[in-house]
Symmetry: C2
Subunit: 359 residues, 2 copies
């Protein structure tokens, strides 16, 4: 029996997607083999790859002057790829906003290849808010400006798109496809798949094509966006099953009404949980109200000695993976696209009951 | 209906593995979700990861002073990783044997980071043989010695393990787990999974631990073996489904009798096909007899105008993916572990019939 899964990633996938994959796992398209067992250059897989790209282009209204890449190595691989691809065009410095653990990893890796300017940081209050735009110390000559629109661990989300001087680079791992975005305002968007796209092992990159000529000379081939773009993300064998599953998720998203429907749904789901947290005397959100993530909702119990009981009982109630990240503790409910409203309703009902019994 | 699949990669997987994956795709271990939908740090997935490593250690008798890595980016990613990890220990030069397209890619990437010495090449006869060991021009001070035990495209395989002065590095993508190997003779073994291990999107690395301190200073984090080893190949989210499936393949291999049984079977399968090719007046092998691959068997028809008919009829007969690599033409039958003897018997019977009708 399928349960409600609030895992931060690898996260819940849409059940119809998994059912289709299950049904055709041994014999795909009547070929007599699995989609995993065909060449990535076969006509059948080429169709999968191209359709997935087109569906993603449709979903996000990606302009024609942007390349869509399907990459390996996750967002972490892109933490390296970004400076390698963008610091060879003249400027050797980059602007970064520091909003938590994922921003920090991106900053640390970029610092190995160029000068990183920390435009703003929310470290002073344990990364529980997004620094106000009028406080940012932007450079005049940055090669790019990097930020993390949604911090998966801290549960902090920027409620707006930054207006900046240099090409805007965004790690959208945990918020991509949850709302419409003006792609044309970005230089590079990237996202590990395992939250809102598909299984782990594939990442999506969306890059404005004029940025493909700024790589540092020694860039490893596997990190090179230009090579990936020129080869249709098949310079070497891509993760075909993950690409196929991502394509099924894109089709499912379109059938649900696309990112507009997902935006509405994620507003509804997160509001339901935050409203409950704000009304509760027992549970609370550690995140500033104007920066609360629609995707990842951390919360704490008034008495942390009850954490273990909460996790035991919630799991027994069919509410999975509510434990907070090992580095911060507490609880976290991730509400990605594949998590239905009913899951959040069940969670809130459980929490209300738990509070009544233990509060 | 499942057909016989001779794809060079992504290649056939063992049917029992796919059946198990299918059965538990929506509800794994009674958790109420897929193996794709749990955290890579959950106790359940940790068990998958550790068991897969131990099974691979058992299968290949990997000594304790070797680390086993599960990596992203394929063997191509390792073409970069190898010089980055090994050229920072003093010597900035490396020895490479050039035996075909895959060796060439490894050489080209390494040449960007250090001095590559081509120890030997079989380019003079279109990469149809392995250069004799007594002809090699080995360096005295190489950081490592790289070779490709089996060239997937050319169908050329070294029938022995080279004895060399520097740490031996081998791209075993298309021959790993097809026979026992003396791991202790190697410094680093690597293999993309999509031939003899699992689906595409994961690669295995086996590295002698004293080689983990020779990285070039600017090595990208995602290519760093030491970081991968220290973090249990979970510095970032690994491709969990591919890792899980690889683990199922390892279990299946053990149940079949391990690599000894696979060695016997691959001898039998390849001998059946080569014997037929050598007896035939119509089909032939372009590869020198002492260097013929047990894994990838390229062959040509006496009249290439019949290639198309051969492919049409073989596919209709349930024999899939026999077309040779786009760069060389002709045919190729890949006989990896998951390809049963019956598949080769059916192929030979078909070819005999085709020859009788068209020869």
């Amino acid at each position: 029996m399928r349960k409600f899964n609030f895992c931060a990633g690898p996260a819940a996938l849409p059940e119809p997607v998994l059912r289709q994959a299950q049904e055709e796992l041994l014999d795909w398209q009547g070929l007599g083999c699995s989609v995993m067992e065909v060449s990535h250059r076969s006509p059948e897989f080429t169709q999968v790859a191209e359709t997935a790209e087109q569906d993603l282009r449709d979903l996000l209204a990606i302009p024609a002057n942007y390349k869509v890449l399907f990459l390996q190595g996750g967002a972490t691989g892109q933490f390296s790829a970004i400076p390698w691809n963008l610091l060879g065009g003249g400027s050797k410095s980059a602007d970064y906003i520091h909003t938590g653990q994922w921003a920090d990893k991106a900053i640390k890796e970029a610092s190995r290849y160029g000068q990183v300017n920390i435009v703003a940081s929310s470290e002073d209050r344990n990364f529980s808010y997004t620094p106000a735009a009028d406080s940012w110390q932007e450079s005049d000559d940055a090669a790019y400006f990097h930020y993390t629109p949604n911090e998966t661990i801290g549960g902090v989300e920027f409620p707006y798109i930054p207006e900046v001087k240099s090409p805007l680079v965004a790690d959208m791992s945990s918020c991509i496809l949850s709302q419409s975005i003006p792609v044309e305002k970005f230089g590079f968007i990237y996202a590990g798949a395992q939250k809102n796209i598909g299984p782990s092992g594939i990442a999506v990159g969306i890059v404005r094509d004029d940025l493909l000529d700024r790589a540092l000379p020694g860039i490893p081939r596997s990190l090179n966006w230009k090579i990936a773009a020129a080869g249709g993300s098949m310079d070497n064998t891509p993760p075909t099953f993950a690409w196929y599953l991502s394509g099924l998720v894109f089709k499912w998203l379109k059938a649900q009404g696309g990112v507009a429907a997902m935006a509405e749904l994620s507003e509804k789901k997160s509001a339901l949980l935050y409203d409950f947290l704000d009304r509760s005397d027992f549970f609370s959100s550690p995140v500033a109200k104007d920066s609360r993530s629609r995707m990842n909702v951390p919360f704490v119990l008034a008495d942390e000695k009850l954490d273990k009981l909460f996790l035991q009982e919630s799991e027994a109630a069919g509410l999975l993976n509510l434990k907070g990240h090992r580095s911060v503790g507490g609880m976290r409910a991730s509400l990605y696209n594949a998590v239905p409203l009913e899951a959040v309703e069940a969670l809130v009902a459980f929490m209300a009951d738990f509070e009544q019994r233990n509060g």
